[in-house]
């Protein structure tokens, strides 16, 4: 690659030393051959501006082949990556307008430094574009003010009003606020006080090539170098206007940080505009969650600013709600409960009569006290009041049919009253509530003692299979003679 570059410069030097018509010089032919074969390599090297100028000279011929157009476009694209010099600009002016239109103008759409340099070059060589093209340029990318000023040079002075009208209409139909703003700003530049000549783009470093673009002194260049049409516009302004404009533009050409900020904010605004719906949804969801979080905090918060007890604090309410069962608790409920608990205490010493009195007391306060009914039945069974026991237990089961062991007590009461059928029925009901091996064993023994040995065996085997870790046995009830023997 370096070899190609070296050869190129050697041939360029010898070309200058040779005499005669350019087309007849030997170096010219060799140079053209070299460019024809190795142009991409040459453009990849760190080209100086005058290299591009030489390349343009080499490609300046009336031939309009697609290959030439492609090479010309590559040269101009590469040249737009670095700071152009006057020699290159002069060479650009030598190109045919249609060459420039097809190679230089597309570079204006580039969002990096190439776009800015392309506008500057187009303005410098006095290129003009059709009025309706400006709206497409303006919406294609974000625009620095310097670029907008340079773009204004591309408007023919006679078409300024037309361009303005087109942009005004375009702004009315435009949904993007940024684009509307850029149209308006460009119209203001058109009818404002433009500088007499294009301004060098305010870019310190070329994005892709990394070439440092030094702020050239072209802003104070000779006015005579301006293209004729641009001059007609520019000359209208007086020198003090130019100064005033320079001062207006000055902030954008100051520090890097300052000049970057408008582009950045514009990009942010552009992102916001293009993602309006998503951002709106995000905003609504965030708002909902913020409000909900605030409210939930308020619901849960216990740090009251002023410590105020409830209005009924210290007063005896008519009822409470049990925090575990949600039952309604009254003073009567509590009184009945107290009697019931006392009855339970007597039961710990098998004092069934005293306990029964307390359970009856509890029932007199609260007749639907299920546990008191059950315990009353239990006590009556032990004092052999089988009828009373059955009444209490049946009442308890009526209130709560799933009450455990009430059926067992009923079965015992029935068995004691020799109501075998009733006892079997209650045993079965108890086993329906829960497959309790103790109840099953008692039931089996009952069956066994009442002569139903097969059923008893079957039941025992069934529950033994269910509870293999327990030992379930059938015992025979001692008859009267055996009892007598035991007594003796």
């Amino acid at each position: 690659m370096q070899k190609t570059e070296q050869k190129f410069y050697e041939l360029a030097d010898s070309l200058l030393r040779e005499s005669g018509l350019l087309a007849n010089r030997p170096s010219w032919i060799n140079l053209r051959q070299l460019v024809h074969e190795f142009l991409p390599d040459l453009l990849d090297t760190d080209c100086r501006s005058h290299t591009y100028a030489i390349l343009l000279v080499l490609l300046r011929n009336p031939e309009k082949s697609p290959e030439r157009a492609k090479k010309l476009a590559a040269i101009i694209e590469s040249a737009c990556k670095s700071s152009p010099d006057e020699l290159f600009i002069d060479m650009l002016r030598q190109l045919a307008p249609d060459d420039l239109t097809s190679t230089l103008l597309p570079q204006i759409y580039c969002t990096d430094s190439r776009g800015s340099i392309a506008v500057y070059l187009a303005a410098k060589i006095g290129l003009h574009v059709e009025p309706d093209a400006f709206q497409y340029f303006l919406t294609a990318r974000t625009w620095q003010q310097t670029d907008l000023i340079n773009l204004a040079f591309l408007v023919r002075p006679s078409e300024q009003l037309k361009v303005s009208t087109i942009l005004e209409q375009a702004a009315a139909n435009e949904s993007s606020a940024i684009n509307r703003e850029i149209f308006t700003e460009f119209r203001h530049i058109l009818f404002g006080e433009p500088p007499q000549q294009p301004l060098l783009p305010d870019i310190a470093i070329a994005a892709s090539s990394g070439t440092v673009i030094t702020p050239a002194p072209t802003i104070n260049e000779d006015v005579s170098e301006d293209p004729p049409e641009v001059n007609t516009t520019a000359r209208k302004g007086s020198s003090h206007r130019a100064q005033a404009f320079s001062s207006r533009v000055a902030p954008t050409t100051d520090a890097k940080g300052k000049k970057d900020s408008p582009g950045f904010s514009a990009s942010i605004l552009k992102i916001i505009e293009t993602n309006q719906s998503a951002l709106l949804v995000l905003f609504v969801i965030t708002t909902i969650f913020l409000v909900a979080t605030g409210l939930s905090k308020w619901f849960v918060s216990d740090s009251a600013e002023s410590v105020t007890p409830p209005a009924n604090a210290g007063k005896l309410p008519s009822h409470w709600t049990d925090s575990a069962t949600r039952e309604k608790i009254t003073e009567r409920y509590l009184a009945a409960d107290k009697d019931y608990r006392m009855g339970e205490l007597y039961l710990t010493r098998d004092r069934f009569s005293e306990a029964l009195i307390l359970f009856e007391d509890a029932l007199s306060i609260r007749p639907d006290h299920t546990l008191a009914l059950y315990r009353a039945g239990y006590c009556r069974l032990h004092i052999k009041d089988y009828a009373g026991a059955r009444t209490a237990l049946e009442k308890a089961l009526k209130i709560d049919p799933t009450l455990r062991y009430a059926n067992l007590l009923l079965a015992r009461a029935a068995a004691a009253q020799l109501d075998n059928k009733g006892a079997e029925s209650h045993f079965n009901r108890e086993l329906e509530l829960a497959k309790d091996p103790v109840v099953a064993e008692e039931f089996a023994n009952f069956l066994h003692n009442t002569g139903k040995e097969v059923e008893a065996e079957s039941l025992i085997n069934k529950y033994q299979a269910l509870y293999p870790d327990r030992i379930l046995i059938l015992t025979r009830k001692p008859d009267k003679s055996e009892k007598e023997e035991q007594r003796q």
């Binding site: 139909n173 909902i288 619901f299 105020t308 107290k338 205490l345 010493r349």
Partner: protein
């Protein structure tokens, strides 16, 4: 010409969608908040009752007496009661902390706000020869969303 902006129909649909999302979200937050609120009160009542039951086991049998409803407040409790002092991390009386505005302001505010109280329902049964048992119902009451709540715990304390 293309008109920018939103139509009335679009606005109505947007608001409807927002409301449809907003109301269940609000309910979800408020329900969760209420559940947290209730669970916290229940847990506190449970721990207060446990504290009393442990104290009952250690205190002299004859000192276990009835505390009628509406009970004694847990905050600003009288000295040497179940909740005064509430804690003492030091070895001296000076390190004792009571549930007062001065000692434990946030906890005090919480208890005052909900009017946490305790009552004791005591039943004494004597079987002779000094064999006695007390059935003690520990009742913790508090106010929650204008509702009077109660937590009950029953313990049996033998005299021997």
């Amino acid at each position: 010409m293309k008109k920018s902006g939103m139509s009335l129909l679009e606005i109505v649909i947007s608001i409807s969608i927002a409301v449809v999302i907003f109301i269940p979200a609000m309910n979800m937050f408020s329900t969760t908040g209420q559940a947290v609120f209730k669970t916290r009160n229940f847990s506190f009542a449970n721990s207060a009752a446990r504290r009393i039951s442990q104290r009952l086991m250690a205190m002299p049998y004859e000192d276990i007496v009835e505390v009628p409803l509406p009970g004694i407040a847990l905050f600003d409790a009288p000295a040497e009661s179940f909740f005064a002092p509430f804690l003492n991390t030091s070895g001296t009386n000076s390190g004792a902390k009571n549930i007062t505005q001065a000692d434990m302001p946030e906890f005090y505010s919480y208890l005052v706000q909900h009017d946490f109280r305790y009552s004791l329902s005591v039943s004494n049964v004597s079987f002779g020869d000094g064999d006695e048992i007390k059935s003690v119902g520990i009742l913790i009451t508090w106010s929650e969303n204008n509702k009077n709540m109660m937590y009950r715990l029953y313990v049996y304390v033998p005299s021997l």
